[in-house]
């Protein structure tokens, strides 16, 4: 699945990282707790979250996460999008709830990470 596929499945608005839409994503993780995100090693992952602060981008950066989807129609500040752009992380926004967004991606074959 590519970031473009995710964007289509969730009717996303692309906030940043248009150049990266063809990147492949292998795993996904949906959480509003950053330490939970950090507990699982993921390969080429997408992070779905309802949080909007810069630490979402920092956490993604530490995990080599390639794409962040902000759920429930939330949009982060321009600074947060800029930070993600600088780190080569695509940012998308969907009106889907966390449950709905994860469900759609799972149904299309995306799976979770591996516990260390």
């Amino acid at each position: 699945m590519t970031i473009r596929d995710i964007s289509k499945l969730l009717n996303c608005k692309v906030l940043g990282g248009d150049d990266n839409l063809e990147h492949t994503v292998h795993t996904a993780c949906g959480s509003d707790l950053m330490s939970d995100v950090l507990a699982f090693v993921k390969d080429q992952a997408v992070l779905l979250t309802g949080l909007l602060n810069p630490q979402v981008v920092r956490t993604a950066e530490m995990m080599d996460i390639v794409c962040i989807v902000f759920v429930r129609g939330k949009t982060p500040s321009d600074e947060v999008v800029k930070l993600a752009n600088e780190r080569n992380i695509a940012t998308l926004s969907t009106t889907c709830s966390m449950f709905e967004a994860c469900g759609r991606l799972y149904a299309d074959g995306l799976r979770g990470g591996v516990l260390v």
């Binding site: 707790l33 810069p54 630490q55 956490t59 780190r87």
Partner: protein, 140 residues
Amino acid sequence: MNILELKYTIPGDDFTRAGEASSAIKRKLKQMGFPPDLIRNVSIATYEGEINSVIHANGGSVSVSIDDEAVTIVIEDTGKGIPDIEKAMQEGFSTAPDSVRSLGFGAGMGLPNMKKYTDEIHVESQVGKGTKVTMKCRMT
């Protein structure tokens, strides 16, 4: 013999900046061409420690030194200290207030993650004086 030493101050008064030191360290290690797994382990451990020193201790410092055998990370602060280290190391134990939880932290997973991603962890703390966490990630 040390190949490299990095040291950063962690400002305690601005949560939006929490993680900047870890980000700088990660970029430096990438530039130097270390293996991706090692970089990730060091990054996560450093980041959790950096966040802890911001949310629990008003900031501190992080230093990373690298030699042929290991990457050694030391995160130090002069904050309130940890009364029961054994308890603090347990998954799910957290004293973080709701304000911190609403920012996405306070799951009580930071110290367990630091332990999980490193080969050695040593926590020293004195109530009212501060906390020092030393971690090692071996090269192989």
